[in-house]
Amino acid sequence: MTSNASLEKAAGNGLINRRHLLGLGLGGLGVAASSRVLSQESSLEFQIPTWSRRPGPGPSAYGERSIHTGHIGRLAGNPNPLYPGGGASRTPLHQLQGTITPNSLHFERHHAGVPDIDPAGHQLVINGLVRQALAFSYDDLLAYPMVSRIHFLECSGNSGTLLGDNPVDGTAQSIHGLVSCAEWTGIRLSTLLEEAGVQPGASWVSAVGADGASMGRSVPLSKAMNDVLIALYQNGEPIRPEQGYPMRLFVPGWEGNISVKWLTQLKLTSGPSQFRDETSKYTDTRPNRTSTQFTFPMGCKSVITSPSGQMALSRRGLYQVTGIAWSGAGAIRRVEVSADGGASWADALLESQQSEKALTRFRIPWQWQGQDAVLLSRATDDRGNVQPTRQSILADRGNLSFYHYHGLQSWAVSADGSVRNVYV
């Protein structure tokens, strides 16, 4: 047992050095890491539980989660009858751990609902400035060489509510839940473009989905030939309908809208097609009233998922502050955490296998003895990008548009243990 006195402070207001997470004596950190708790005599009575007295159901064709975790779900807005199938649902970041989002909880954003696509009737067409226009069936594509990559996907509107004048009373899910992370498996787009034969003069690829909106986005050819996938699998299973079954474009690190779902057409063009969703929407109006267009990469960003908005700390003692960090430019190299509103910072422990354009989990121990605290996290990526403050984003870009917000998130902890979204 490690006594509190031996915990090495790392920054103000209770942050403990991350080395204590590395098997150095704080194994039960989240539950009972205080000598006072252990010294109390347990009043538990131990009996054989009922589920140990009978056989359970046998194997099944398709697994279901425990009924005791049924409260974990996406947060979807109310249906809008004027916008059939439109809207979004958000990932419960505060109820999940690790870095991979379960497919059933991956965020959604649809522009005309989820089409019910029979893969036998679906074609992927490549046309425009190519040597030979080609059509591929789903079965054709299954025969192509594939690669797997772990990448986050983030809607560019994620967290945009934090540009508002007053902090919303929200959760990590309601504010930041338009980001998820999965292992995407599919065909390199370059493989198919080379088969069709890209002609001189082609510099963009217009991608169109087979949903009711036939949503389209233009992708620069340089990116298309670099790391873009035609994704067919997500976390090992065929992509689900709400993520683009039978196939979607996957554009690593860039705003989610450009990873066109239900992909059915790729047209090589000399310039962008100027679709509605790259002119009227997903553009960023600056204070001088000009608007930036084709603002693709998502910023270097992090958010503490526990403790986070609308949670309640029920006891004093040691906690593990944890959250996720990501960058559209590269890999996360550092996450710092503050418990005193940004006056002092300590390095968190990073826990990740592959963090290039993927979620990285961070953790740091924190001693809470009932004091007021403001928890923040600040990410740095391997390109040297540092997550900015809200004030610096406002000073730089204003708040005429809500896309691409990646400023610091502040969670205030009150003496009663309640946690709420604040601006510092």
Binding site: V125, A133, F136, E195, V208, K267, S273, S291, L400
Partner: protein, 189 residues
């Protein structure tokens, strides 16, 4: 004393079979490292005429625009029956998401961004109506009706006259009020 790795550096006697096998290995290696070389090439050739009813993409220079034509005067009835329930009698909309007219990028406070005040290309109006509208029955308008509805929305914004004919030639020539209002950031990748 040689380590195991060092032993690979010892000169080996070259023979014709060894050279041939090395060349074959190199050829195989290169075929596996080139992204397309191992692909099975299963794409089926298709022609432009096969795609005429499938490829809906309209470029800002007008390429892709179909035959057909329409005026705002003709478009009013299309608008009344197919658009007005969401977009309002005069394009004022019934929510911030469905307003089509008004606003100015130079207004005080947050600018109202509409087709008239914000959209940089008239071709986008046609492209979007044809692929995505009306929201409850996308792609149910004929090409003529799309030209007519496009003309009426532009007319409500004071961009075209009531009897101005929009077709594949005239639509791309329309200068939208905010056409110079955008800065291309696509070089930042």
């Amino acid at each position: 004393m040689y380590s195991k790795q060092d032993s690979f550096r010892r000169p080996t006697r070259l023979s014709i079979p060894r050279i041939i096998s090395t060349l074959i290995s190199l050829a195989l290696l290169s075929s596996f490292t080139s992204s397309g070389a191992q692909a099975p090439s299963l794409g089926k050739p298709v022609t432009a005429s096969q795609l005429s009813g499938f490829d809906l993409i309209i470029q800002p220079d007008g390429s892709g625009l179909p035959a057909g034509r329409g005026t705002a005067a003709q478009g009013e009835s299309v608008f009344r029956t197919r658009c007005q329930s969401c977009h309002g009698e005069s394009g004022e909309g019934n929510s911030s998401a469905t307003v089509l007219v008004g606003g100015s990028m130079q207004s005080e406070g947050p600018p109202l961004r509409t087709v008239g005040s914000y959209w940089p290309h008239a071709t986008t109006v046609f492209d979007f109506i044809r692929r995505a509208m009306p929201a409850d029955a996308p792609k149910s308008l004929t090409d003529n009706e799309v030209y007519q509805a496009t003309a009426f929305v532009l007319f409500l914004n004071g961009i075209v006259g009531r009897d101005e004919v929009l077709d594949a030639q005239s639509l791309p020539l329309i200068n939208m009020p905010n056409s110079e209002g955008f800065i291309d950031q696509s070089h930042i990748q």
